[in-house]
């Protein structure tokens, strides 16, 4: 019903987005001011900014060739597209709708270098998604993985095989948050520039509409 706003918030900037949310657009969108409170509006803005936070760069490769690269590079062992693949990593069926070409390329070359924002708390920007965690229990067990969920007392991570592990923080000897690291390997030295661009084109084409 409404327009696709994916690329718009970053272009307008937060104040303008806030203005639209609060005051609406004549004949198109109702004003939310008074319907939701300031904190909720800020959450919506924070979320909208994350939608386009990564939307830089343009598609230059060949999506059809990119699919071949995807199938041949082991991506399916960790990612699901339209029901096919393994779920150790994030599902990519709609990744082209959520992430821009520039961000996709950065992630293929330098996984974990620029994490998207996940849960938005009432007044903070929220937690990073896919944050890499290294922890060692008091019994000596060492675990590495991606944060799935965390609260003030517990954490659940997902290891490279997609297995979930939950811990009480009080039972940990080492608990390190490692932004920049990822369980996903870099494809910087495994794929040519052309292959990377083709792969980006393929992923950017995935809108989840089949």
């Amino acid at each position: 019903m409404g327009p696709n706003i994916q690329a718009i918030p970053m272009r307008l900037g937060a104040p303008a987005v806030e203005n639209v949310i609060k005051n609406g657009m004549s004949g198109e969108m109702p004003a939310l001011a008074g319907q939701v409170d300031e904190a909720q509006i800020q959450q919506v803005i924070a979320y909208l900014m994350t939608l386009t936070h990564k939307d830089t760069g343009t598609v230059t490769g060949d999506a059809a060739k990119g699919k071949t690269v995807y199938d041949a590079s082991g991506c399916t062992s960790c990612h699901i597209i339209s029901g096919e693949g393994s779920g150790a990593g994030p599902e990519l069926t709609k990744v082209g709708q959520l992430r821009g070409a520039g961000y996709l390329k950065t992630t293929i070359l330098y996984p974990g270098s620029d994490l998207p924002q996940a849960r938005v708390f009432l007044e903070s920007g929220g937690l990073l998604d896919y944050l890499h965690i290294h922890l060692v229990t008091k019994e000596g067990g060492a675990y590495d993985g991606t944060r799935v969920v965390e609260d003030s007392f517990r954490i659940v991570i997902k290891d490279v095989n997609g297995k979930f592990h939950s811990f009480q923080k009080s039972g940990l000897r080492v608990f390190e948050k490692q932004p920049g690291k990822s369980v996903m390997p870099s494809f910087k030295d495994k794929l040519s520039n052309t292959q990377v661009d083709d792969l980006v084109a393929y992923l950017a084409s995935l809108k989840g509409d089949q």
Partner: protein, 539 residues
């Protein structure tokens, strides 16, 4: 002789088991001595001092690990923005359900005894706030609620039948009640929210028996009234300073203490030069006349939306060796203040979170502004604390046992952006904010339960939380501090050391006061979260 013996036994039983001896009657004298009746919870903050402290100690450091859910109540329809804190008296718990329903529960089982809902207009105006209720007040055999459409309603405590209903303020203009009333002597005190709709704040008193209005104190002066000069040319439309939470009361001084909200518009100060009294202040009013005895303004000429609507905490403690009547306030502006509550004089103050907007406080407690900390056009100005402050409205706790003031602190900043926004005559079309904020991205924010020395504000210990939390605090004579996380943990800390001793994951952040009560010899801890009302007890 037998008769005398029987009477003695009977009176002994009554003394031992007051919850069974009375039928919903909490006269003023009983509320006055609420701290000596810890089996009940007779005001929003547990007593007129708003200390959020219980002297019950059946649940304590030694056995807290065994605390379990005793019962759960859920409203018949799912609710949102549940911020309801209970009143407990004579075996009955009085809670609210958003937006303005009052429900009586059996304290032993959580079973619903009665429920009352007002007939609200089809469109309730709630600008800059949730249409919710933080609770009721009790006085005698009547409970009182302020509704989302700004009525004050008196209900019979045994049935929920309406005794009287007065229309306090015009909801169409943005007045909406979210805070619990405060009942004392023979009257009920109530304020209203609506600063973001640019309403003029007030505090009212009504006769508890009849609903007759006894007095009103306007919290922003208009031309010709004392303080109007602090609004410059904008005095004719002075707005804000709303009173949307609960207050406190000192019966010896006969003074009501109430916090006030931000001026309007929040972030654009172009048309309100001056200190803007009595915004972002605590005001002390004579309970019988509503006359202003004193005020203390935490944030003169405020433009970061730092309301001061936390319930003021009253406590007595020595300062420099002399016993003093004090008022403690962990303000949204990031400073903790200690005032002399007899006259409002500043005693001491210091930041309890990171703050960048003031170089410090002068000898009178007035902030010394730091340069370049005002909201600006475009990308805005990074200021600490954030819009929701070092702490927002959620109640802190004071323990007379430890002398510590416990607060759920927010460590975060925000970019404050100045925009356009003017007060227009007539019903508001939306938030009269005049700007906004942009939250910090990533994991730069966190929360903490902080224990401050109540008379100095010095940090004794902290327990860090993953995110800034909007959960009130309870301390008990069992040596425990209860609060919650934004992720949904409800937990207990050692009141002396801050060490975590127990936690229960509720699946949703709490927004209500944790409280404690006792019935049939069993102590309960109660809180609400998400859509549920939970009572905990030892097995």
């Amino acid at each position: 002789m037998k008769i005398i013996k029987y009477v003695l036994i009977l009176s002994g039983l009554l003394a031992c088991n007051p919850a069974r001896s009375r039928a919903q009657n909490a006269p003023y004298e009983r509320i006055l001595h609420a701290p000596s009746e810890p089996q009940s919870w007779l005001t929003y903050g547990g007593s007129y001092s708003s200390q959020q402290f219980s002297s019950l100690k059946q649940i304590n450091r030694a056995n807290i690990a065994n605390l379990k859910v005793a019962w759960i109540y859920q409203p018949s329809k799912p609710v949102s923005n549940l911020e309801a804190s209970p009143i407990v008296a004579d075996g009955v718990m009085y809670v609210t359900e958003p937006p303005s329903t009052v429900t009586a529960l059996d304290v032993r089982t959580g079973l619903r005894l009665w429920s009352w809902s007002p007939t609200l207009p089809e469109h309730v105006v709630s600008i800059g706030l949730y249409a919710t209720s933080r609770g009721v007040a009790i006085l005698g055999d009547t409970v009182f609620i302020g509704t989302a459409d700004s009525h004050l309603v008196a209900l019979d405590a045994k049935t929920g039948a309406v005794r009287w209903d007065v229309h306090v303020a015009d909801n169409a203009m943005g007045y909406a009640m979210t805070g619990p009333p405060l009942a004392l002597k023979d009257k009920v005190i109530i304020g209203s929210a609506g600063s973001e709709a640019a309403v003029r704040g007030f505090l009212d008193a009504y006769d508890a028996k009849t609903g007759k209005k006894l007095w009103r104190f306007w919290t922003t002066p208009r031309p010709g009234e004392p303080g109007a000069e602090t609004w410059g040319n904008g005095a004719f439309q002075s707005a804000g300073a709303t009173t949307w939470n609960n207050g406190s009361y000192d019966p010896e001084l006969n003074l009501i203490y109430w916090g006030t909200g931000n001026p309007a518009p929040d972030f654009n100060d172009d048309e309100r030069p001056g200190d803007n009294l009595y915004t972002c202040s605590v005001i002390a009013l004579d309970a019988d006349t509503g006359k202003l005895k004193w005020y203390f303004q935490f944030s003169p000429h405020e433009d970061h939306d730092w309301d001061s609507d936390e319930p003021p905490v009253l406590f007595n403690a020595p300062v420099d060796g002399k016993p003093r009547k004090l008022l403690g306030f962990a303000n949204r502006n990031g400073f903790y203040y200690v005032l002399d509550r007899t006259n409002g004089k500043f005693i001491t103050g210091r930041p309890f979170v990171k703050q960048t907007w003031a170089k410090g406080l002068d000898a009178n407690g007035r902030p010394i502004p730091a340069p370049n900390q005002e909201p600006t056009l475009g990308a805005g100005t990074l200021v600490y604390p954030s819009i929701t402050g070092g702490v927002d409205w959620t109640s802190p706790s004071y323990s007379p046992d430890t002398g510590l003031f416990y607060v759920s602190a927010h460590e975060t900043g925000a970019y404050f952006i100045k925009g356009t926004g003017k007060i227009e005559p007539g019903p508001p079309k939306g938030i009269v904010g005049g700007g906004g904020i942009r939250a910090l991205a990533g994991e730069q924010s966190y929360g903490a339960i902080r224990a401050l020395e109540a008379t100095t504000g010095k940090l004794r210990w902290q327990f860090k939380l993953l995110a800034p939390a909007w959960v009130p605090v309870l301390s008990t004579a069992g040596g425990l501090v209860f609060s919650g996380s934004e992720e949904g943990n409800f937990f207990a800390l050692d009141a002396v050391s801050g060490k975590p001793l127990w936690q229960f994951y509720m699946g949703h952040a709490a927004r209500s006061n944790p409280v404690s009560y006792e019935v049939d010899g069993k102590q309960y801890i109660f809180i609400t979260a998400g859509n549920v009302y939970l009572a905990f007890a030892l097995p």
